[in-house]
Point group: C2
């Protein structure tokens, strides 16, 4: 066991840089906190390099810690690294890795155009996982996947399906070539989602909280859908809309 | 025009108490911020008593300010009263009022059992509004409706439909007497929501983020539903589940 007693330890300082996007991009790593997320990471073969635990934390016997370094740290070190006030005695460093996403003609995919709120991105990834989606593509302007609030809101779903960054204008034709139908979403045009003519595989584009899906993307989709508003709200929260649309398209056929 | 130049002004101190639930309960009033929420409040006849504006804020001509007192305050006063960093130059004091909710046999209602996250409660209310629901009942343990983050997340929908506090165990038999079907939600039992035997009016019970719907409530419902999980997620975010269920029940018949 290695011990760390001061938040000023040079290794802690390095890890601390992972709290910002710039530091994560440079190191190709991110921090996760709490037993649930760490368990999901380990179960799904994410590359956990370091486990930093409080001295009272008992490592569950089914955590395979062979390939990682375990550090026993003081509470002040754990608190320094964690984003929540109650990290439950454990944080871990995970390699971001380079993910690939293969398209399948009967798969379902989410294309995210500038989702900015971390809680929304996390909830959308959790919803995509629940609905059995085969991948998520994070388009330009989307908040960083490894932001601590995004990670927390995914409830571990980020380890369950491929999530890549990409230029959506390039992905749309690749989807179409594969025979995957591409649905945009727009309040101003298109048809109710219940009337979509989905045949098999599909991709759904969801847009920025304030501005929706970019016009260029709407123009290159096969069909644009909307969720009808029956009351006086102007729109739905984007994660809620993701759920209605993914389940509506799934259960509809 | 009345002017307020110091955050230490006694009226500001009184309003400041509305930032906490205890103060809101005592005064029967709450604070809203930003032009959009205030416009929704005015449009839907909420009782706005005080409008507190920055000297550069121009009151839109369609705001009927006749029954309220307008105060021109310094930015520091507005910032003191607001919860966000950018209150956009205007906050208002609104009377909570006493809302009544009448049941209709073909109406749709949401019963919330201990929703704790303010963002979730706000998103659920916005979703209920979007789906054309006729009312929301806030059961025990549900976060305060007038919490600033709840208000913001509703995007104004709290002014669009009746929202009352109540004991859900008392409301369920009242619903049933009216011929309104009561659906519980549970991951551990019940049937997929797509198979529900909904006839006309219905109430949907949604539960606490960690513990779900209380067993006593599940036992008194007509039927319990769940949203199928096709991937590896353990559950859905409760606001997302609300959207899938409300739209599924609505569009299903």
């Amino acid at each position: 066991m290695n011990r760390i007693t001061s938040p000023k330890n040079s290794r802690v300082k390095e890890w601390n840089k992972l709290k910002r996007k710039k530091g994560r991009d440079k190191a190709g790593a991110f921090i996760i906190e709490g037993p649930h997320l760490i368990e999901e990471a380990l179960k799904h073969k994410a590359e956990v390099t370091d486990l930093i635990i409080d001295k009272s934390f008992r490592i569950p016997s089914d955590w395979h810690t062979g390939n990682m370094t375990t550090w026993v740290a003081t509470s002040s070190v754990i608190e320094e690294l964690a984003d929540t006030e109650t990290p439950q005695g454990v944080v871990a460093i995970v390699q971001a890795g380079s993910k690939e996403m293969e398209l399948s003609s009967d798969g379902s995919y989410l294309l995210l155009d500038g989702i900015q709120d971390p809680g929304n991105l996390g909830a959308i990834i959790r919803t995509a996982d629940s609905a059995g989606a085969d991948g998520v593509i994070l388009g330009n302007g989307t908040v960083d996947l490894y932001n601590s609030k995004v990670l927390r809101s995914t409830q571990g779903s980020l380890f369950h399906l491929p999530i890549v960054k990409g230029n959506l204008l390039e992905w749309i034709p690749r989807m179409k070539e594969k025979g995957i139908q591409v649905f945009g979403t727009s309040l101003k045009g298109g048809i109710p989602y219940t009337l979509s003519d989905r045949i098999s595989g599909y991709a759904l584009i969801l847009g920025n909280e304030a501005n929706g899906v970019h016009e260029d993307l709407l123009a290159s989709s096969d069909q644009n859908l909307f969720v009808p508003i029956y009351g006086q709200a102007e729109s739905l929260n984007v994660a809620v809309a993701a759920g209605i649309l993914l389940y509506g398209l799934k259960e509809g056929k």
